[in-house]
């Protein structure tokens, strides 16, 4: 068990899976970089966030493919290669670029197997960096896993720790279904313990990170950290919470959430996304249907506001839900019955 950043954990997962299986290939803009540059150095980038660094030198240009800026073709490339027997890991750089490649995700990779009578398999992993935290403004900061999670046929990963990132990326690569893999930008540099050896995290199993009596707190990706802060702070006052890290938003581990709710009777859902049709909405809705009989207070959704992501530091800080918002929400579900 070593300590490593999420970036390094992801890099290790890619490296290990490429070593294990020749059919795994990586593609995207500047996944290595340096082609056609005047220094003559390849692997000059290794991905804009450094996640694919070192893969080109080890695996060569046929397996680590730099592409032009053509996201529809990048995802299409992955889709076609997958139909033809490979296991492509395509990088979309910023999750916001789903905008320019949505058809290949939404109408193609997600639907092949179903439309084609179960005969196709599409083992694509589509990696993308999401979230606010870099003041990258409205077109480079979105967390659009709700949109992707709504599409039947896709699986969606939202890891919050280096260990999960590694184990889930490995599972994603081995999975025969298409997986959209969200990496939160603000988590790349965060360190955490990562077990040695070949770890694989199965999909649809949320992680119970804290156990408590009073409130069920469900959180996603970076929000897990903020929720942990709030939960730990309240624990000092004797208010204890179950803290559930969803880990995948498709499939959703409804069982773990409902089980916890049946113990606590109170629910706070923390989602960095815009509020409407969010995962927070989905889980709140779950509480209103399946969890109704356990619910002892109104559900609190803690989300970003219904606005684009603003640029300025002060604005972005207000936009992103933080530990204080979560703490307030937990207190409110305890007060309001």
């Amino acid at each position: 068990m070593g300590e490593m950043t999420m970036r390094d954990a992801l890099n290790a997962a890619l490296k290990e899976e490429m070593e294990r299986d020749d059919s795994v290939i990586v593609m995207g803009e500047d996944v290595s970089g340096g082609a056609g540059g005047t220094s003559g150095k390849r692997d000059a980038a290794g991905g804009i966030f450094g996640v694919t660094k070192g893969l080109l030198p080890q695996f060569g240009e046929d397996r680590v493919i730099d592409t032009p800026i053509s996201e529809s073709a990048i995802v299409g490339l992955a889709n076609g290669a997958a139909l033809a027997g490979m296991r492509p890991v395509a990088e979309l750089m910023f999750a916001d670029f789903v905008g320019v490649s949505f058809d290949q995700i939404f109408n193609q990779m997600a639907k092949f197997r179903y439309m084609f009578g179960g005969k196709a398999k599409t083992p694509v992993v589509l990696r993308m960096a999401m979230g606010a935290g870099m003041n990258a403004a409205a077109q480079h900061s979105q967390t659009i896993y709700p949109i992707l999670s709504s599409v039947p046929g896709l699986k969606v990963c939202v890891p919050s720790s280096p260990a999960d990132a590694k184990g889930m990326l490995k599972q994603a690569i081995r999975d025969d279904d298409p997986v959209v893999f969200f990496e939160h930008k603000a988590l790349y540099a965060r360190k955490g313990p990562v077990p040695d050896g070949d770890i694989v995290v199965p999909f649809g199993e949320a992680a119970l990170l804290r156990e408590g009596r009073d409130v069920t707190v469900v959180a996603i990706a970076r929000m897990v950290q903020f929720a942990a802060k709030a939960v730990d702070k309240l624990a000092e006052e004797g208010i204890t919470c179950d803290l559930i890290d969803m880990r995948t938003t498709s499939p959703i581990d409804e069982e773990t959430i409902l089980e916890s709710l049946s113990q606590t009777g109170r629910l706070v859902v923390v989602d960095e996304s815009n509020p409407i049709c969010s995962i927070a909405s989905e889980i709140a809705g779950l509480a209103a249907s399946e969890g109704y009989h356990d619910l002892m207070a109104p559900v609190q959704k803690v989300t970003a506001p219904h606005t684009p992501v603003p640029f300025a530091r002060e604005l972005e800080r207000m936009y992103v839900p933080g530990p204080a918002n979560i703490e307030a929400a937990i207190r409110s579900v305890l007060e309001n019955e």
Binding site: S70, G76, G80, G117, G118
Partner: protein, 321 residues
């Protein structure tokens, strides 16, 4: 026309199969048993067959919304297709896909596609796999004149050049993009535009099987030799409306009749090969009869095929979930 009788017999049969499949659907469609959108390929048979006769077992093709011709030319089972079009549980896609989504991965047929321009980048991806296998296999996409204006098609062309992939682009100009003439929507022209990416283009008369075959032969050889992508540009027409039910107000009423009489692909092959003494009229008649009875069979069987149930609706969304 240096092909041997066996090759011609096969190609002629493929073209006849497509023709009768489509003409029969045109007759069956108004009866109300066939659901959804049906786009027929009659008139363009020489293109699909002229290209696919150049392909090998491990090659891939991807089709368009007008997919029956490409599927049949690639060897998909006509009965399975017909059952699919009739929405049967034992159709090629279990009745979940229908006319616009017929696929047969076992034949390297990566699907018809309801999204115009979506197939091209996918086929480029299959070419990545071909290159990786290093067995000389190639990947082919079919693209209509209208689809050629979709950004994804240009991206696919550029990507194939940049990665030097064994990828054949077949451009089929059938005169129309839905209810609009193809000339309207195309800035520049299809040949120059494609060449602009550094892709060599072989032109063909899309009514003439031999013309298409020869153009495709050269274009395919270019890909197999590892020289990067190539293109075939073939011009023809579609005999029916954009979809079944299209009143075709945009079309002169004699247009199709003229094509049928003068340049029809089946007629041309028949005339050429009988005149050249390669095959006799009688041999071709036999093929025609065999195909007609096969199509009868397909329709008969499809009409009474099993309806899909809830298990089919709910399955194959995921492999494992």
């Amino acid at each position: 026309m240096q092909q041997n009788p066996d090759q011609i017999r096969r190609s002629y049969r493929q073209m006849r199969l497509i023709r009768e499949f489509e003409e029969r659907l045109h007759i069956e469609n108004p009866k109300g048993e066939i659901a959804g959108f049906t786009h027929l390929y009659s008139g363009q048979e020489a293109i699909a067959v002229g290209v696919c006769e150049n392909l090998r077992e491990h090659d891939y093709i991807i089709s368009t919304h007008r997919g029956h011709g490409h599927c049949l030319a690639r060897g998909c089972d006509p009965k399975g297709m017909m059952h699919e079009i009739y929405g049967r549980a034992d159709g090629l896609c279990k009745g979940r896909g229908g006319s616009m989504h017929i696929a047969d991965l076992t034949k390297g047929m990566l699907g018809a596609n309801g999204i115009v321009g979506a197939g091209q980048p996918i086929a480029v991806g299959a070419a990545v796999a071909c290159k990786a296998r290093g067995d000389g296999s190639i990947s082919v996409s079919f693209t209509g004149d209208g689809a050629s204006n979709q950004g994804t098609v240009f991206e696919a062309m550029n990507m194939a050049v940049v990665l030097k992939l064994p990828k054949l682009f077949v451009l089929e100009d059938n005169g129309y993009s839905e209810h609009t003439g193809s000339s309207y929507g195309i800035g520049g022209d299809l040949k120059t535009r494609t060449e602009g990416f550094g892709i060599p283009v072989w032109e063909a008369d899309g009514f003439d099987y031999f013309s298409v075959y020869e153009a495709a032969e050269k274009a395919v050889a270019h890909c197999r030799a590892g020289e990067g992508p190539s293109a075939v540009l073939a011009t023809a027409t579609r005999y029916f409306g954009h979809f079944e039910g299209d009143p075709q107000h945009y079309r002169h009423k004699d247009e199709v009749a003229n094509f049928r009489e003068t340049v029809d692909a089946l007629k041309q092959v028949r005339e050429k090969v009988t005149e050249a003494g390669i095959l006799s009229s009688g041999e071709l008649d036999e093929i025609d009869a065999e195909v007609l009875s096969l199509i009868d069979d397909c329709v008969e069987s499809a009409r009474t095929g099993p309806a899909p149930g809830a298990d089919i609706m709910m399955s194959d969304v995921y492999i494992e979930y």
